[in-house]
Symmetry: C2
Subunit: 698 residues, 2 copies
């Protein structure tokens, strides 16, 4: 994952997770749990006291975008700030052939002009509870892997449902330390989110894919929403105050957000699996999608609009994965990992009382191997890579909803549990636009990919293609299905399995053809994941005993606290300073001849002379972030807003596997740059006033 | 292969070749041998008599661009016309950071201003001789595969050398019908080729990758050279006369050019291999390169210039292969192939006297399987996909030249045979620019690809990487090698194996590390190819007996004659007319807002009113073409020039496997459009006069 990528929900069974050789936290490393913050480190390193009040204020000001990013309340009247690229999905969905808000930008002068987002859900963390012992107690020792997985799923669903009923809050149990701990997170949930302001994508993503993950940078990657409840703007208990003078070189800063996923605690065997199997597969697929979407986009402006958000996500992931692959392919990084693992195992052996933890390493190797044998079918059939279309996804949700909903809560696939029902339905009945032509393009390619990967003579592939070419089959399915009509979806969902079975919808029929094998692959992998959880729990117990607490778990798209200094770095013998300015923006624009993606919106060309060109625009710090942190507020010692995370530099892409502060940096938009642009370029004085005072004018 | 792609020399061992179920020639099908032209078909279908004189005139006016394309003499003073994209490589090589002729275009007002191309070789076919019996006689029955391959290589080298010495002409034995026939081709060879005129790439490749392989089209894809000998323009025996009034809807036209490779005669087993192994590998690699080169190009204008030609080739191949894959993945096309093969086998069985031919099908399956087992190492190590850089290619040529040149002519790798010496040295000592940064980029990616494909723990991969990351290793190799200096290359080449061994050049050392395994893979595959040739020869003998002559062999980048009518087609219920005009060009430009790659060069915007907008610009016909035909002259019944092939439409991409005339079309630039543009937009009256009269002004 990476900051530019709105972190997308990882499917229930991540392919590789494990607790293993942690390297000792060093420098500004760490994506710390709010419930176990780095008090001592901050005191020793920065002479800073983390008080409970300071923490609670930042926690309750922080917002999770369930579409895959972070944000924060920045006014007492419900204003939420995030990245433009986090909001892109929402902007795209409210756009039309006439109004491409993603491209043109948007501003609502009045409450009335604010546009409600189609299916955006925001969460604000309210409380955390350690439920490890309750979860583990429910999984009897000696159970088979499948039974154990089921028992664990059941107790988790039970805890979540109970909490939801008792508190009315969204409640999710999260697996930490790859199985070492289970924490119950409770969130306030907002679904009436309205668009207030977005700049043109040209300036939000100035430099596009070429400058993505690079620094120096010049992006106004911001987007403002207002959160409503009962038809009125909310007045959140906490919101961040806008800093009067921003941050400066060397300052200590904090980042509060939702890093999606890291892989730092993996065993060497698991890292090798990523390097040899998982990353090559993913990169092959991403570059294929990139080529497909780019070619299609370039045929017309309307194509480009339709595919823009998808293409952005693909390119961004591709660049991030290429960076990750560079780390995995580096014998130096891998050597460090191997050495640390060896050292820890020796420590376990020397202590003489951890036979389980030592055996766990072997169990992880075996489980990883078993997962590897299922991985391809899992991704193609269960993750849907072989059908890549919204229509297929919807059809399958309808099919499975019919099968799952009659079951007891604890026995359902987790996405159909009571705790997830509201989010599921929000998504399923969303009236977001789905474009038939883009669907056909992507599905035809996905069916070809399916044939290539499993073989065109594979019996299931032959059933899927039904004697047609991938192009012809995709066209027939996409044109023949009715699942893109919300009313039809409601009918099948409400009608349950009987209605689904009677529908005869060709896409639902396809989902049926695939479902047994898809479920089988998932079940097999989940059983192995359970074995891994058990093994990892054994290692975690030993580690906590030997090394004490003071570790942070891998990222899980739950709220974390990171910290770091504002700081430049050395690259190819020259110093990269920590701040850029508007002057630099205009220079880069001129250098690239104002050609896309380095072109400026007309108003930026016109308003140049109005701007103070020396205003800090983007800056970097050493905070430990990853994808999902996009939109995270950056605050100073006083807890005031000084910037917003929107990316990492190219050197930060190995942060997936190990923290580094030599060159790796987190990129932010500077709070001063935001105000200057809103004021001088966009002339949105009301908004500037609300940000400065924390209140909108009555 | 495809027309847009300058056909690149296929390495000595094509991975799949075979003679199998030919489908009967239908409609305007066929890439016919000049030595066995479709006289009867043309008489019956078009009432046209192919006379020897007409054929010889067209043959000797036709020019092969050894960089991978076709062209023709169009004046008695040595003017040769080809496509801009065929000339792109040459344009790129003579360009500098100050003058990007590929982008800006070029015009030499005087002889003196003409720029000599760095390493371009043109060939004009002079005569053909059937040497099948001599080749086969030299391969004793009962020889093992390796010995047989060696014996065949030896006799071929002998025939070529003998012919070269006797006639002074470039002499190459070509394998036709996948081993059914061997023909000796003799060419006049020109290496002093000078650039005369090229339009801006913007207009030559208007619409870029998005409109590539599409129709309607609006491309001025032409480039003019002048051929010199002994420092003076040549006066070729034959050149094409420019037609006074061009061609019209329904007209019979001929295409004379060098289609690179087709796969129409493959057995079903071989096609399945392409579908299941070969194409997926190639597409994975191409999309990976496309992503890499595009990202890099977009970082700066200079990057873009350096990578442009390479990127164009990659995108073009990718689109062509995607089209081919669509054919292979189509059960209907594959079903037709299977039915035809079954039918022919039944005919063989019924005749009762072809046990060898029937057994040959099984032998082909076995050989294909054996080739498949070597294919990955062959491509990565021998074809160089694992090192993707000019520097590695040069280093390996130097290493091998040292080893091969002392051997007897017939025992060398064919690229080092006496017959190929001049071409090899032209290429090796070419002073073309090789960019260090681009080399590092590509090689780092290739080394990563190597690791992914063979596994990072493969012993050879570990030797190649030498404990470094792919990026670090590529940087060290590319920066450390001296092979990009021509003088250094000469020194090692002249010094032979001893000088090479003493050099200690890191890239040469790398080539040495790889060479044993690369040669082993090649040897193993060539042995299997020999078995295939033998099997295919058996099938070919039976076919010639059962079906007579009147077949054409798969394309081999040797001169072929195709024919077809100028004709539109139906698509999605609407008629696509056969001609476009300049008016259409300006419409598409306006529709795409003059943004790249739909932008027009300034002079095209300025001169719009000077142009007759109704002038035919591009047109289509049903002629049977493929990559390598780029630049082929299109002539009318009188043998006069009416257009120049530059592409096929998207429906033509399955022509690799089977001819089709329902929608598949060849695309040409119209002779009238060329003159109108040269005259009105470029104001190059002298050139227009030379094309019209066939002579330059004295």
């Amino acid at each position: 994952m990476n900051p530019r990528l709105p972190f997308r929900f990882v499917s229930a069974m991540t392919l590789v997770t494990s607790l293993a050789a942690t390297l000792p936290a060093r420098a500004d490393e760490g994506m710390w749990l709010y419930e176990d913050p780095p008090r001592q480190i901050l005191r020793e390193r920065y002479n800073f006291d983390l008080t409970p009040g300071w923490l609670e204020h930042l926690m309750k000001s922080s917002v999770r975008f369930n579409s895959g990013g972070s944000g924060s309340f920045v006014s007492a009247d419900g204003l939420v700030l995030s990245n433009h690229h986090v909001g892109a999905d929402a902007l795209q969905k409210v756009g039309t052939a006439e109004h491409d808000y993603l491209r043109e930008g948007f501003y609502a002068r009045t409450e009335k002009e604010e546009i409600r987002c189609v299916d955006l859900e925001l969460n604000v963390l309210q409380s955390v509870e350690d439920v490890t012992s309750r979860v583990n107690a429910a999984v009897a020792p000696g159970l088979g892997a499948e039974e154990a997985a089921l028992a664990r799923r059941k107790i988790i669903a039970e805890i979540e449902k109970e909490s939801r009923e008792r508190t009315g809050l969204r409640s999710n149990v999260t697996t930490l330390y790859q199985g070492g701990r289970y924490h119950l997170y409770r969130f306030k949930r907002y679904t009436d989110v309205r668009l207030v302001f977005a700049p043109e994508q040209q300036i939000a993503f100035f430099g596009g894919d070429p400058d993505n993950f690079e620094f120096p940078r010049y992006d106004l990657d911001v987007c403002l929403f207002r959160v409503y409840e009962d038809g009125k703007p909310v007045h959140p208990e906490h919101h961040l105050t806008w800093s009067k003078d921003g941050t400066h070189d060397g300052d200590l800063t904090f980042v509060s957000g939702h890093p999606g996923r890291t892989s730092r605690l993996l065993t060497v065997a698991e890292l090798e699996y990523l390097r040899d199997v998982s990353f090559p597969y993913t990169l092959n697929r991403l570059k294929r999608l990139e080529s497909l979407l780019r070619s299609w986009s370039e045929r017309s402006g309307e194509n480009a609009r339709r595919a823009k958000d998808e293409l952005f996500g693909v390119q961004n992931s591709r660049k991030a994965r290429d960076g990750g692959m560079a780390g995995l392919a580096d014998p130096v990084l891998m050597g460090r990992k191997a050495a640390a693992e060896k050292q820890f195992k020796e420590r376990l052996a020397a202590a003489g009382k951890y036979p389980e933890a030592l055996a766990a390493y072997e169990q992880l190797v075996a489980a990883q191997k078993a997962i590897g044998a299922q991985a391809l079918r899992l991704r193609l059939l269960e993750s849907g890579h072989g059908f890549n279309s919204e229509s297929f996804g919807i059809a399958r949700t309808l099919l499975r909803a019919g099968d799952e909903r009659p079951k007891p809560n604890g026995e359902r696939l987790p996405e159909f549990s009571d705790a997830n029902r509201e989010s599921l339905e929000l998504d399923l009945f969303s009236d977001r636009p789905v474009h038939e032509d883009l669907e056909m393009l992507q599905m035809a390619d996905a069916l070809t990919f399916l044939g290539e990967q499993l073989g065109f003579t594979d019996p299931l592939v032959q059933k899927v293609l039904a004697g047609q070419s991938p192009r012809a089959r995709a066209a027939a399915l996409i044109q023949g299905t009715k699942v893109r009509e919300v009313a039809y979806r409601r009918k099948l969902y409400d009608g349950g399995a009987a209605a689904v079975a009677a529908s005869g919808d060709p896409m639902v029929e396809l989902a049926k053809i695939v479902d047994a094998e898809a479920r089988a692959a998932r079940k097999a992998v989940e059983a192995q994941e359970e074995l891994k959880h058990q093994a990892q729990a054994a290692i975690a117990r030993a580690r906590f005993e030997l090394e004490g607490a003071g570790q942070y778990p891998d990222a899980t798209f739950t709220l974390r606290l990171a910290f770091g200094r504002v700081m430049g770095y050395e690259e190819n013998g020259r110093t990269v300073p920590p701040f850029t300015t508007f002057a630099g923006l205009y220079e880069r624009n001129a250098q690239m001849k104002n050609l896309p993606p380095f072109d400026l919106p007309p108003r930026w060309l016109k308003k140049k002379s109005a701007l103070n060109l020396r205003t800090p625009y983007n800056f970097i710090n050493t905070a430990d972030i990853i994808g999902g942190n996009s939109g995270s507020p950056v605050v100073n010692r006083a807890g005031e807003f000084v910037g917003i995370i929107f990316d990492g530099n190219i050197q930060s892409l190995v942060l997936d596997f190990a923290y580094d502060d030599v060159q790796a940096r987190a990129l932010s938009v500077d709070s001063r740059g935001i105000l200057e642009a809103l004021d001088k370029v966009y002339g949105v004085g009301e908004l500037v006033r609300e940000l400065k005072t924390g209140h909108r004018r009555k």
